[in-house]
Structure formats: C-alpha cells, structure tokens
Amino acid sequence: HHHSSCLIRRRMSAPGMWGPSADVQDPALGTTIMAVEYDGGVVMGADSRTSTGSYIANRVSDKITYVHDSIYVCRSGSAADTQAIADIVRMYLGLHSLEAGKLPEVPIAANILNQICYSNKNMLMAGMICAGWDPKHGGCVFSIPVGGGIFRDAYTIGGSGSGFIYGYCDANFRKGMSKAEAQQFVKNAVSLAMQRDGSSGGVIRTVTISKDGVERDMTLGDSLPNLRAHWEP
C-alpha cells in the first residue's frame, strides 16, 4: 500500500502488494502540499496529481478543500480517507458556526480535524494541513500529520514531495512576507518538489485567504516556475 509519505510503510499485506497486479493500489495522493502564513493571511498551495500505483488517475485534482468560508484543508495520503475526513469536518464546522453565531476560528477547525485523525489513527492514512483566516487569530497554519497530533507553525509542508524541498523552504522562508512574496514562495517550492517527486505533478493550485476573502489561482503545467533555468536548457 504505497502512500505519499515514503518515510512510513504501513499495511504491507494490503491487497495489490504481491503478484502480477502488484502496482495497482488504492488511489493515493502522492503529493506536495504546503501552507504559509503571511502578513494578513495565509497562502496554501498543492500539486494536482492523484496516482493509482504508477498510473495518474487524475492529473488536475484539487487537493485544497473548502471546509468553511475562510478555512481550507490541504489533503495528502489516501484520497478516499481525506475526502471523507474533509466532508465530516465541513459538517461539524458548519454546525459549530450556526451554534456560535459567527465565523469559526481556525484553531477550532484544526482541533476538530485532529480529533477525527487521532481517534481513528489505525484506520486512516491522512496527512492534512488546516489553514485559514479568522478575525481573532488572523492567518494560521496547522499541521495534522499521519496518526494525529496538532502542530502550529508559521509555515508547513507535507506529502511525499515535501521531503525534497525542506532545504529550499528552510533557506527561503521569512516571517511576515507580503502576499505576493508568499505566493511566489509557495509556487517556487511546489514547483521544485514536483520536478523531483514522481508522485507530484500537474498544475499548482494556490488558495490565498485573508480578511478580504479567498483567491483561487492555478499555475498551469506548462508555465511552472523553473528554478533550474539558469543551468538547464
């Protein structure tokens, strides 16, 4: 059962592991996802590849999923698990905001997500990033890795492709970037990951969330930033 997160191998006896159809597996999000806090909100980014073994089942997937008006989650791991989890979080958040009478706060969304991922850790393969903007906390980014647990950071990266860009991100991230700088940082990072990770590719989708609302953007597969341009034709 190959998953986006190549650091962990689980459920080695899953169907499809042995024999002629060994490389047919559950649709998984071999993925690069990230979210970055900037001065005024968050920028979330992801690639768009969903693979079933070596076959790309969807080359234009949308891995940045709405859970509330200004709170989105990035999904990595099993496509089925993460879609189901996002649907449930969306329901609970909607219910919560009806009862609270206001926009849900990002830490609340992230904690609901964590409760689901932690309580069901033995049945799920889901690495999620929950990010958004609310009036009380401004822009926030939370990482909920495989197995649950909730970790807040100024920025976070996830999915199989993230392993290839830890160096780039460590070297180039700055706190309190402007919106444009943060968007460029996300696009550069996801692009580098897509170039090196076979499980990531397609287009770069970004979602920018601030008090002014939500902006969705798509950088097409033939106009990705190429940071190797200066040494490679």
């Binding site: 650091l7 962990i8 689980r10 189901a84 649907d87 449930i88 969306r90 329901m91 609970y92 219910l95 919560h96 609901i112 409760q115 689901i116 932690y118 309580s119 069901n120 850790k121 033995n122 049945m123 990482s143 890795p145 495989v146 197995g147 649950g148 647990g149 909730i150 970790f151 950071d153 392993g163 830890y166």
Partner: protein, 273 residues
C-alpha cells in the same frame, strides 16, 4: 453537494470516538476515592475509540530530570521527529499542570497531546470541587500509571515514556511512567534514549545539588545526547519546580563543542608521528 445524512453515515462508519459535539469529553465518572484511571474505566455506554497497538509516528526523544536542594528540574528538547526527519522544530514537551507539577513526554507526540488533555481534565475536575484541596504530583503520577497500565492491558497503549515532577509540602517528587504501565520514583529519571546515556551521568552528579548545579547537569546530559542521538536537537527547555511554583523557561539553544585537536584528523593513514 453533500447532505448531512451522508456525512452522518460516514461518521458512524468511523468509531464513535470521533469528534461528536453532543458527547462531552469527560463522561461523569468521579474518581472514587483514589485516582483510578477515569479514562480507562469508562462505562461501556460510550464506545471508546478502539485503537489497537500502534506504532509511534511523530516522536519526541528523551526527557531528563533530577532532584536538587529545594526542588526538581526537568529538561527536554523541542523536536518532533517524523522517522528520521526533524520535522517540527518547536514542540514544547514539558507541560505544567496545576501549581506544582510538570509532566515531560517522549514517544508519540499525538499520544502525549492526549496525555496532556487527560491530565488537564483531571485537574479541572479536581479544581471544580473548590475545596481548597489540590492534586499532588504523586496523585498525577498514580493517575497516569493506572491509565497507561489499563490501556496496555487492552492492547491500546499511549505510546509514551513520561516524567512526572513536582514539589509539594516541602517534598520534591520525581517519577516515571511508561507505555506498559511501569511506574517508579527516583532521584534521577530519564526516558527513551536518554535513559541509556543520561542516567549514569545524572547519578554521578549526586543528590546534594544547588539549582545551578542541577541545570548544568541536565544541560550536560542533553549536550551528550545531541552528540550521540540522531533524533536530538539543541533547542531545549528547562522546567524548574520549587516552593515558589513552576518555571518553564523559553526555549534556548544549547552550545556544543567540536574543538578538540583530535577531531581534526580522524582518518587512519598508517603510523604517524
């Protein structure tokens, strides 16, 4: 679009332990008399999330602790490792509870967040009695020990090694609890990798230490751990508990030394002068 009905069906296919706003987190099981494992003894009316023996995913490395004259001190780094990847660089692993107890956690960090939530709930329940009587560090040590042992018996452990430290009524307390319910108290405690490296170093430091001596001893241990443990980092925190209460300092970077002459040329090139 989706309907709430679909979601509820999906939700019900996950364990009932998933987040449900109708279900209060603490089912009313007053810890009768002592502090038996409230979490572990919940009535079957609420199905506990059944997580069978797992594997730790995001982990913290060893915590070290030592008693000194007038208190106890704990130290740990702030790293959350994801396998060999140093993923989360500022995870606080020393948590204060009440006025006089600190619990340090190593092992699976999602389970340690659960431990933190359980102890918070215990303290809140106790404070709500408003009877002027507060839980001691020893009570929290017992509680955690019972929780861990009972969960171990159901093959559903919290994959942690914990240090419980505190100071009450003029007495220092330092105890250890692990994922299978082992509990003990000692002048010196270290978890995980640190139990191999730090325990002998801390025992050598002795029992009649000043606060400064204790801090130096703990820092020296964490330094050696950084030299010898692939999953350690130099960004550390120290927690001190005395009569005056709990003091957990801001994280700071530990210095390391690499300047020995012998470190310069370590390849063997035959006999050299």
């Amino acid at each position: 679009g989706f309907s709430a009905g679909t979601c509820l069906r999906t939700m019900n296919s996950l364990h009932a332990g998933a987040y449900d706003p109708r279900m209060p987190a603490a089912i009313m099981m007053p810890p009768a008399g002592g502090f038996s494992a409230g979490a572990a003894c919940r009535s079957a009316a609420v199905a506990e999330p059944s997580t069978r023996t797992q594997q730790p995913i995001v982990t913290g490395t060893g915590v070290v602790g030592i008693k000194f004259n007038g208190g106890v001190m704990l130290a740990a780094d702030t790293l959350g490792s994801y396998g060999s990847l140093a993923r989360y660089l500022s995870v606080p692993r020393l948590k204060p509870f009440g006025e006089n107890t600190v619990v340090g956690g190593s092992g699976d960090l999602s389970d340690f967040q659960k431990v933190t939530a359980l102890v918070d709930e215990l303290i809140r329940y106790d404070d709500a009695h408003d009877d002027g009587c507060h839980l001691s560090p020893s009570d929290i040590h017992s509680y955690l020990g019972r929780v861990m042992y009972n969960k171990r018996n159901r093959f559903d452990p919290l994959w942690n090694e914990l240090v419980v430290a505190g100071y009450k009524d003029g007495e220092s307390f330092l105890g250890f609890v692990d994922l299978i319910g082992t509990m003990y108290k000692d002048d010196v405690v270290a978890t995980g990798f640190a139990s191999y490296i730090a325990t002998p170093l801390l025992r050598k430091a002795g029992t009649n230490l000043s606060k400064e001596d204790a801090k130096k001893a703990l820092e020296d241990c964490l330094r050696v751990l950084f030299y010898r443990n692939t999953k350690a980092s130099t960004r550390i925190q120290v927690a001190t508990i005395t009569e005056a209460g709990i003091d957990i300092c801001e994280p700071y970077h530990l210095s390391t030394y690499w300047g020995y002459k012998a470190f310069e040329h370590t390849e063997y090139h035959g006999h050299k002068k």
